[in-house]
């Protein structure tokens, strides 16, 4: 087995599992601020209790996010040593900034938020919630900056020994790729947070307990959800797609399954890319739609894979195609569902519409899948490059760490993370069972 594949899987597996947690904390962070703000302004104790309930869920997620996040920083060195040696001067900066600017802030105020209620004033407690939210969003920003530089390297120079150097702090942070990706990604986190909150609300109402809280959760979840579910497609998704099309033509061609360049390119809604024949098997196509989405006119030519040298095609073509289509398909579902739910909420009919509550409840896993598929799209689309156009993935992994050493620790992580997943489920289940009224020690 090739060491390259193992090291890729190692990082892919651990980062995918890790990101299940921060996507919720980043989304929930914002929603908890909303709950605390209402509580502060109205003095309504119920909203405070609702915030405390979600604070407990947040805290569990936060810890799982922290412990699964530490391996990510290590793996740059352990599994991707040759990459780190050359790019550490750039990549290491946003990673260090994440620790310095975000984690200190986040951990300090989370401690205050969870343990300080009663010791600090109501206003200070609200402020802690805001700072926890800000901290988690700053953290997301620096990770996106790191990834954006690998997707779209800017503000760099090369030293005689091959190392990359940062030339400008601001250009690194304000990489246009990163800003678009950040907007899209954070909206994705809000989608996850709002679906989870709405699903718990729907669950309580369907079960007929904690109903007053169920209504609060649904209200906040659906309002945030409808905004985020629209914004995830337009403008953030749309702009990201156009930017990828300009800067990574191979990625967009593979995502869309466009083997041959076409003017008036159609959009494949479904199908299976066949690398052998260079065609899409069993396609369902909307004529001209792709040209329109990328260039705003139905006649524009879209570059297909045929114009790209074979050794620069993304290496996992069908997987990339599926990941992208799953993300886009689910995104469409989110918007439809949330628009309907928001309409029902506005008409005052949501809490009695059991079918809509069931749909909201059953949909909560889907944003996790969509966020994961979105990241797979971004990272598989970048292949075969580790740093786009500059360094191939095959040149970056640690070649002193053999394939089976890598496999050993990968299996170790898989076992450990299975256990963590089970424990996490038990903990969250218990919190939801106890509900917002529970008195906790």
């Amino acid at each position: 087995m090739s060491a390259e594949i193992i090291h890729r899987l190692h990082f892919a597996f651990t980062i995918t599992f890790h990101y299940l947690f921060p996507q919720l904390t980043m989304g929930l962070g914002l929603l908890i601020v909303a709950l605390k703000t209402v509580a502060l302004r109205t003095g309504n104790e119920q909203w405070d209790r609702a915030a405390r309930f979600w604070g407990r869920i947040f805290a569990i997620n936060f810890v799982f996010g922290v412990v699964t996040g530490i391996p990510m920083e290590f793996e740059f060195g352990t599994n991707w040593a040759r990459f780190s040696r050359l790019s550490g001067g750039v990549i290491g900066q946003p990673l260090a900034m994440e620790g310095v600017f975000s984690f200190f802030l986040e951990s300090a105020f989370l401690g205050l938020f969870l343990y300080g209620e009663g010791r600090i004033s109501k206003l200070m407690h609200w402020f802690s919630a805001v700072m926890v939210f800000v901290g988690s969003w700053i953290s997301g920003f620096f990770i996106i900056v790191t990834d954006a530089w690998m997707q779209h390297p800017v503000a760099y120079d090369r030293l005689p020994n091959g190392q990359f150097e940062v030339l400008s702090f601001w250009q690194l942070l304000l990489n246009p790729w990163g800003l678009l990706q950040y907007a899209h990604n954070m909206t994705g986190a809000v989608v996850t947070g709002s679906f989870v909150m709405a699903a718990v609300g729907a669950f309580y109402i369907l079960e007929g307990r904690n109903e007053s809280y169920g209504r609060i959760f649904l209200k906040v979840g659906v309002i945030a959800g409808v905004i985020a579910s629209i914004a995830i497609i337009f403008p953030t998704g749309d702009m990201s797609g156009k930017y990828v099309a300009q800067n990574q033509p191979a990625a967009i061609a593979a995502m869309e399954g466009l083997f041959k360049s076409e003017s008036g390119a159609g959009m494949v809604l479904m199908g299976q890319p066949n690398e052998e024949t260079g065609e899409i098997d069993n396609p369902i196509v909307v004529n001209d739609a792709l040209s329109f989405l990328i260039y705003g006119t139905t006649k524009a030519e879209v570059k297909g894979l045929d114009q790209i040298p074979r050794d620069q095609w993304p290496t996992a073509l069908p997987l990339l195609f599926y990941a992208y289509h799953i993300m886009a398909g689910l995104g469409t579902w989110f918007m439809l569902l949330m628009v309907v739910a928001a309409f029902l909420l506005w008409r005052g009919k949501l809490f009695a519409a059991r079918w809509a509550l069931w749909a909201l409840l059953l949909s909560f896993p889907l944003p996790y899948i969509a966020n994961t598929a979105g990241w797979m799209t971004a990272e598989l689309g970048r292949q075969p490059w580790l740093i786009y156009g500059l360094m191939r993935t095959s040149e970056g992994y640690s070649n002193t760490v053999s394939a089976s050493n890598g496999l050993f620790t990968l299996l170790g992580f898989m076992g450990l993370y299975t256990l963590l997943g089970l424990l996490f489920t038990v903990l969250i289940y218990r919190e939801i069972e106890h509900g917002p009224e529970a008195v906790h020690s």
Binding site: V63, S84, G88, A96, S107, Y115, E117, Q163, T400, L420
Partner: protein, 345 residues
């Protein structure tokens, strides 16, 4: 000049990590032995509850700083210490999760199990960290391309082809275990009340005696294993102030703990950790990772330092960011100062 600055900035981050996460690791070890009742256990855990993950941030921030300031060192050391680092990661995961779970699963067997995992993971981590530092001081078999890969152990002797564990690094592990356990005991005597406070104070004594012996053993062993560690001290005799500081702070721990001045004793223990680490760094400088395969293969400051633009950019935000970070730390410790008060949170 930039090399000098960044070497010591990274050193400061490491000291920050050891001093802060050190006491909660020590508390983790101690609660296996020291705690008798459920109330005491809750008091013990509450004393680190609001701060432990902030303490762990120093590891990440320090790691990140090391990464961009010395990418060659980061790449070489992390891939070379692959297996032990993965074990460290698993231990950090188990420790964090068991501590968190414990607050939620209020059931007998679960709690015993989780307490055990938390304590054992803390204990192993202190040993791993000590052994890791000792590995760096001893040196590793660097190849010409700057990489290496270490087995967990070979013949237990430091030499050209050592393992992660040999008699020298085991001493390092024990120094860390005892030093941090004592550090944790001093924290507990500062933060807790009643019988637990008394027991924590008393347990410092045997730990202190063991630490004194181990400290001396480790100083002698370091000079024996890598005589070059003394060069800087001989060159700048004024820096012998560092080992003097080690001894003085250790003496101060004893005195203040005996007199029941818990805060001063804890701070003296912080000073001890500071002097030990500063002494080790000064013994290495300007080498970052010595090669057992010949000094020409050493990873030196000059070889590993990032380019000038990178460091200039880094310096621009680092000072500001760390000033903020220190502000939060002071703020949080200020908010939770004084003895732990139990009650619903």
């Amino acid at each position: 000049m930039m090399g000098f600055v960044w070497f010591w900035l990274v050193a400061v981050m490491i000291v920050g990590y050891v001093v802060l996460d050190g006491f909660d690791l020590g508390v983790g070890v101690l609660h296996l032995f020291l705690v008798r009742t459920e109330a005491e256990r809750r008091m013990t855990l509450a004393s680190i509850g609001p701060v432990w993950d902030g303490n762990e941030v120093w590891l990440l921030a320090g790691g990140g700083t090391l990464y961009f300031a010395f990418p060659l060192l980061y790449a070489s050391a992390f891939s070379g210490f692959y297996l032990p680092l993965m074990i460290v990661l698993w231990l950090l995961i188990l420790r964090g999760v068991s501590l968190e779970l414990r607050n939620h699963l209020n059931m007998g067997v679960w709690q015993t199990l989780l307490d055990g995992v938390f304590g054992l993971a803390s204990l192993l981590l202190t040993i791993f960290f000590g052994a890791a530092l000792a590995n760096v001081l001893r040196g590793v078999p660097l190849q010409a391309d700057g990489y290496f890969f270490l087995p967990l152990w070979t013949n237990w002797r430091p030499g050209v082809a050592p393992g992660i564990l040999d008699w020298y690094t085991v001493i390092g592990g024990l120094v860390a275990l005892v030093a941090l356990t004592m550090h944790g005991a001093l924290w507990l005597s500062l933060k807790t009340t009643g019988e637990l406070e008394q027991r924590a104070r008393r347990v410092v004594n045997p730990l202190w005696a063991a630490l004194l012996c181990l400290t001396i053993a480790s100083l002698v062993a370091t000079i024996a294993v890598r005589p070059a560690s003394l060069d800087n001290y001989v060159h700048y005799p004024v820096t012998f102030i560092v080992p003097v500081g080690v001894v003085a702070s250790l003496a101060a721990v004893w005195l203040w703990n005996r007199n029941g001045q818990a805060l001063k004793a804890f701070l003296a223990s912080c000073a001890y950790l500071f002097f030990m680490l500063a002494g080790a760094c000064w013994g290495l400088y300007p080498t970052l990772l010595p090669a057992t395969t010949g000094a020409d293969r050493d990873i030196t400051l000059e070889r590993a330092i990032s380019g000038p633009h990178t460091l200039a950019v880094g310096l621009a935000w680092w000072g500001f960011g760390m000033a903020l970070a220190v502000g939060y730390v002071v703020f949080v410790y200020g908010k939770f100062r004084g003895k732990v008060v139990l009650g619903g949170h």
